[in-house]
Symmetry: C2
Subunit: 128 residues, 2 copies
């Protein structure tokens, strides 16, 4: 697996999320996937994403930085979106907000095995 291979797979994974093709998640995510040290499994991972999209109907995953050194990828994701209701405990009510996520993925073969994510939750405080 070369860095380019891994970036290709990751790009396809983001396309899958952006198209809300939840059934295809299993092509990118291991059944025993871990998120920030918790084994949430593919079902939990899918639920987390579905919940994110309920809160943020126009959620769109776009990497501004993408660094690959197999079996790892690090991505900086930039979100510009209009969450309905509350986000990270803050009342947003459809306003435009921007926030970042810096996230590491560890792959086993072609599947995401461990995710370590940090989201800039406090950054939106000044935007609403």
């Amino acid at each position: 697996m070369t860095p380019l291979d891994l970036k290709g797979i990751y790009g396809d994974y983001l396309d899958c999320l952006n198209a809300r093709r939840w059934r295809d998640l299993e092509n990118y995510v291991r059944p025993d996937v871990e998120h920030n040290g918790q084994r949430i499994g593919l079902g939990g991972y899918r639920e987390m994403l579905e919940e994110d999209v309920r809160s943020i109907p126009d959620l769109f995953f776009k990497a501004t930085h993408l660094i690959a050194e197999p079996p790892f990828i690090a991505a900086r994701l930039n979100f510009e979106c209009h969450p309905v209701g509350t986000l990270f405990g803050l009342r947003v009510d459809g306003k435009l907000v921007r926030f970042q996520e810096n996230v590491f993925y560890e792959f086993t073969g072609s599947l995401i095995h461990k995710v370590h994510s940090v989201i800039d939750k406090t950054g939106i405080t000044g935007q609403i």
Copy 2:
């Protein structure tokens, strides 16, 4: 510059921070360094670090993940420390807290030019 070269330089940079050798920062950081999109410069960068250490005397930089694809490095830093007074607006008063930073560095030659950092500020809420 190979991934290994860049990791070597970055390891030396963390050693420099952990030894509080602020005068040596110029060996690792460009005079016009940017932090999260703001050109704070070497002076501002040093001030930021000195302020961090005033708030957290036992601040120690340790990477649990380190991914290099020149000219980029992505690091996941794990902090276990005892901040004095407040941290991220929360009253900590010397208690042990753990938090993470996921951070991207863009190098120009051997010097850090742009830093994109996200710190898990909300994660310590449940620890104090």
